[in-house]
């Protein structure tokens, strides 16, 4: 079913359309949310709440973005609401710090175990962008639409996250950021 038809069927309340959307995005959203918050139960709750909100508001969906971007945006809003207290704020200067060496990260050997541990320790705002970019294969433009932030900000967060991981790897597993 194409996206346009799927949206039409969702608006008409057709059950098969609801199943299609859940089957298409449910597991992907669950995995993506889990990678950001590392709590399986909470991730499932967030995905449930996301779809419930999507279905309750589908009639008001105007198609200004793709359906999938809209679903992801709702999921990210719910995730941020739920873990608001745990998110550390990062200064604007911090984002920009990484811009100079954005694409020049050269690492010869990566200790996967250290990388995994450092990724878990990384601040949510970097991890969120890294997951959306690397795991969900979303473009910078799509991520900026989902998070309602400028593309430059997303690029900075992504670069900063990568630099922090690289630095930690070089030091053998100690994050600075």
């Amino acid at each position: 079913m194409g996206e346009e038809k799927l949206i039409k069927n969702l608006k008409n309340g057709k059950e098969e359309a609801y199943y299609e959307l859940v089957n298409k995005l449910g597991n992907k959203l669950l995995r993506s949310t889990y990678l950001m918050i590392k709590d399986e139960k909470e991730a499932e709750d967030i995905v449930q709440e996301t779809f419930i909100r999507v279905f309750n508001n589908i009639k008001g969906f105007k198609g200004n973005s793709s359906l999938y971007t809209w679903v992801y945006r709702i999921a990210q809003n719910i995730t941020i609401d739920r873990i608001k207290s745990k998110i550390q704020t990062i200064s604007y200067e911090d984002y920009n710090m990484a811009l100079d060496n954005t694409d020049e990260i050269v690492i010869e050997n990566i200790n996967k175990q250290i990388l995994r541990e450092e990724l878990d320790k990384l601040n949510f705002i970097y991890k969120q962008v890294l997951v959306l970019y690397y795991f969900d294969d979303l473009s910078i433009k799509e991520i900026s639409e989902i998070l309602n932030e400028k593309e430059g900000t997303i690029k900075s967060k992504l670069s900063r996250g990568r630099v922090l991981l690289k630095d930690a790897l070089e030091r053998g597993g100690k994050l600075n950021g």
């Binding site: 309340g13 990678l35 399986e40 995905v47 279905f55 694409d103 990260i105 990566i110 910078i140 991981l165």
Partner: protein, 103 residues
């Protein structure tokens, strides 16, 4: 931004490995689907598919009552008032009422 560099590939691989076994449970999917706003068609189907439980004793009493009303002849419990008058070898039978059909 290159997502195919070594760091990017390793990050993707770690993320895939760490979340590989995660799947939405059947209960979660059912909760999601049942939360949607139901159309009139769904409501009608729900109504038609509803299981109705009837308690046995009242059902039997009701069925017996229905049987009595519809199957049994109407006058089965009526005591007809019949008078028989014997005149010689003949009898005159007098009833309170009798249905008379046209030939």
């Amino acid at each position: 931004m290159d997502n195919k560099d070594l760091l990017g590939l390793e990050l993707k691989s770690i993320m895939e490995e760490d979340s590989r076994d995660l799947k939405l449970s059947e209960q979660a999917i059912n909760r999601i689907i049942s939360s949607r706003e139901k159309t009139w068609k769904d409501k009608l189907n729900d109504f038609l598919n509803k299981e109705i439980e009837i308690p046995l004793a009242p059902a039997l009493v009701g069925f017996a009552a229905l049987f009595v009303v519809t199957i049994l002849p109407k006058n089965i419990f009526n005591d007809e008032n019949i008078k028989i008058i014997n005149i010689d070898s003949s009898q005159i039978i007098i009833r309170d009422g009798k249905e008379v059909g046209r030939k």
